[in-house]
Amino acid sequence: MIEVTNLHKGFNGEAILKGITTSFERGKTNLIIGTSGSGKTVFLKCLLGLFVPEEGSILYDGISYTNLSPEEQRSLRQQMGMVFQGSALFDSMTVEENVMFPLQMFTKQKKTEMLERVHAVLERVNLENAHKKLPSEISGGMQKRVAIARAIVTRPKYLFCDEPNSGLDPRTAIVIDNLIKEITEEYDITTVINTHDMNSVMEIGEKIIFLQKGHLEWEGDKSQIFTTDNKAVTDFVYSSNLFKKVRDAQLKGL
């Protein structure tokens, strides 16, 4: 469970996040949606502790990051996994080395133990026969799987994903979305996902918050998002022609 209260963050005097208050539940896929430039990535990086907010507080299961000693901050960080927008795999390392990296840095396990865990998570994300390949040698969808594997290899309590299906074809995107949802339930993680993809919302949106120009404009679940009369949300949802046609068809009783 992550609770955010009155979060403010800006750059060089320009406010990007303007007082966001919300919460994300454990074991659920929480979605942050909004148009490009609405501040989703900045918000996620605040949750990760990569950006220090100017104002407001973030509580991770009741613990505030800012009140911790550097040592404690680091151990809290190690309970977070992140899937970056472009996967951010280390391009000089093989798939296996990428996933093993967090274990190598922070555990005293033997190499065989680490490899066992690495193979288990790679299997969990359905990635086989690519262990020795470099990131540049595998497809975008496979890179995402590796990124997810790397994020969960240390059994984090919090998982953050920045547009996990950007750049993927629609079918692969749905598979990746569902993988994240399954892992969230299986490991009982608090998962927060940035997206601007309505397909993801339909597929895995359990709790949805809508950001606009740094404000929290709306929150709800996926059944409510199609019935809300909030103008900004409907504009966003029905900016896709497909959804518009479906709605018009429904209105006409087709």
Binding site: L48, M105, F106
Partner: protein, 246 residues
């Protein structure tokens, strides 16, 4: 104001580099990899340039020695002095600012724009230490490269001088041994160590703090080359003033 700000951030970066250390075994293997990339990978070009620069220095000196009173052995003396004092440490370092410097800036810059640095930070790793510290340690082997450069430069001078028919082998060697001041070597290697540090850190700075995308990585590499060369030239001036003029 802009420059002062950049210099300030450079020193803050150094503080981060020498801050919390990455796990020893990891640092060791990173350092070995950097020695391979930065030093071993530059052997070829450094050897090539040194040999021919040494040869050209000898030929130039020979061609300009028109006064018969000046002994031919001066060619050996001049080759030694110019190669040891300037060509090997300074000239090669400027070349390295292009070769190694742009490699460092573009590799760290790419990690920045593809969020690999963020990924390190999220895992709780001191990314500055992880990325820059091994480069600094690796560059501490740079004096070996410069020693090779000195040797090959003088060898180039010898071959061009003797086989070009400008002076005899004995004359060249007498010239080489003429008025040799051991402190000149100390001076040359102190310079080399300073340049090694600059070569590892300034390009890292330009890569680490860059913003933007692939296009900016290219621009950052160019800027990094300019600033590393400028720093080397200024450092050279200051050290020469401090160590040689008394």
């Amino acid at each position: 104001m802009f420059y002062l700000d950049a210099i300030g951030r450079y020193f803050l970066m150094l503080k981060g580099v020498f801050g919390r250390m990455t796990k020893g075994s990891v640092l060791r293997s990173l350092t070995l990899k950097e020695i391979d990339d930065l030093i071993i990978g530059s052997l070829g070009i450094v050897a090539f340039i040194s040999f021919f620069i040494g040869a050209v220095v000898a030929i130039q000196t020979a061609l300009n020695l028109t006064n018969p009173i000046i002994p031919r052995q001066l060619i050996g003396f001049a080759s030694r002095q110019s190669v040891i004092l300037e060509f090997a440490p300074t000239f090669i370092s400027v070349i390295m600012a292009g070769k190694v410097g742009s490699f460092i800036t573009s590799s760290i810059g790419t990690m920045r724009v593809t969020e690999q640095i963020d990924a390190l930070e999220v895992m709780g790793i001191n990314s500055l230490n992880y990325l820059v510290f091994p480069k600094i340690i690796a560059m501490m082997t740079y004096p070996f490269l410069i020693a090779i450069s000195m040797f090959l430069g003088i060898l180039g001078g010898y071959i061009a001088g003797v086989y070009g028919g400008f002076l005899s082998s004995d004359e060249f060697i007498t010239g080489l041994q003429d008025e040799f001041i051991p402190f000149h070597l100390v001076y040359a290697f102190l310079k080399t160590l300073l340049f090694a540090f600059l070569l590892a850190t300034i390009p890292s700075f330009h890569g680490y703090y860059m913003k933007g995308g692939a296009l900016e990585v290219g621009k950052a590499s160019t800027t990094s080359f300019v600033w590393t060369s400028v720093a080397i030239i200024i450092g050279n001036y200051i050290l020469t003033q401090l160590l040689l003029s008394s």
